[in-house]
């Protein structure tokens, strides 16, 4: 049955494609996690690494005709949800303490004899006093009747 052989080869090719995609996705996420300094972007990159692993797992599960791969991805989803909740709570807390999302601020937690990381370059087009446009309020102030603030007669 040469047909079955072709079939097996097609499955192997499908698996290899998925492994390749998973590897590239994982790597891009890793580079992002290592290089970016915004804490939220770092966590997005970490989630991307999880996605890369999920793609590979689903590929292997299909290849071996086994539910295990998909089961693992379901638990990866669960763990990612937990991770997001805790990470965002931590980021929110750290932002309250430091006033920005830069991870480099927390190098103050390093050992005393460790050298500090110093930025070697300042972006050329960086303007710390940049002002974003705002909308001026338009129109007249609505007339508010006193009783409507307590009880709304109609909707």
């Amino acid at each position: 049955m040469p047909n079955e052989f072709d079939h097996a080869l097609a499955e192997i090719h499908l698996l290899q494609n998925y492994l390749l995609i998973g590897a590239v996705l994982f790597t891009v996420g890793l580079v992002g996690f290592l290089a970016r300094r915004n804490m939220i972007v770092m966590f997005l990159a970490a989630e991307m690494m999880l996605q890369g692993v999920s793609v590979s797992l689903v590929g292997w599960g299909r290849f071996h005709n086994d539910w295990g791969g998909q089961m693992l991805v379901i638990f990866i989803l669960t763990v990612a949800a937990c991770e997001a909740a805790i990470a965002l709570a931590l980021i929110q807390m750290l932002f309250q303490r430091s006033g920005n999302l830069d991870i480099a601020i927390w190098q103050r937690l390093r050992e005393e004899n460790q050298p500090a990381y110093v930025d070697r370059e300042i972006p050329e087009d960086f303007d710390p006093k940049q002002v974003f446009p705002t909308l001026t309020p338009a129109g007249i102030d609505p007339h508010i009747r006193e009783e409507e603030t307590i009880h709304r007669t109609h909707v």
């Binding site: 090719h13 290899q16 580079v31 937990c82």
Partner: protein, 257 residues
Amino acid sequence: MTGIDNITLIASLLLGLGLWMLLPRGSSRGKAFGLVLTTAAMGLFAYKLFPLDDLVSDAVFYVMTAVTLVSAVGAVTMRSPVYCAIWFALTLLGTAGLFFFQGAQFLGVATIVVYAGAILVTFLFVLMLCNPEGDSLYDRLSFEAGISSITGALLVGLLTWTAAATVFGDAKAVAAKPAEGPAPIAFASSYEAQGKSILTDHHVERLGMELFTRHLLAVEVAGTLLLVALVGAVAIVAHSRPADELGPATEEGRRNA
């Protein structure tokens, strides 16, 4: 064991170089060139992909792959974190499409609903809560972009090489007995007619059976984990004392408080 081939090697190097040029650095010079290099790397990786059965599935698969990988690069290299999140949403849609393509329907839906719908929106929510006004220096600089990109190039080269070598062994096992008997590896689509396949029409039913029988303990543990994470997140937020009591860490934080 086969050696690493030239195309994978060049593609890995190009991907590392392109990512290095695209990552936010001091100057915005070389971004276009980085884009060209990354596209070339993706093209070479796409060349390494094997064509599938027919034209339609090929087209769908390549579109899904392109969406996933291009938006992954975008999510990592954009300056504004909001753009990062939007590109990441596109990555999630691409991976969901890849899951559908493999017949993992439940996972495709769950990725869109849970990841893109819930987790990503929470990310954006915190981003809006936390975004300081004006330009932020740290979104325009990277930690050691060069070393990170070298790490990435090495890793992707190694991963693709080992993956190819691993599956190559399986391919030889299949090639060893092409004609007689069942295939040495149990392929999903060869079981399709017998209803034993994971590509069954009753996908969610079978998946639920598997999840709540064989993996019941894991489900319980996952539930506990979710509860603990919930309590932990609340505890972290509730126990972070107000900034004036504790003293903010920086001058900027003192102004924000």
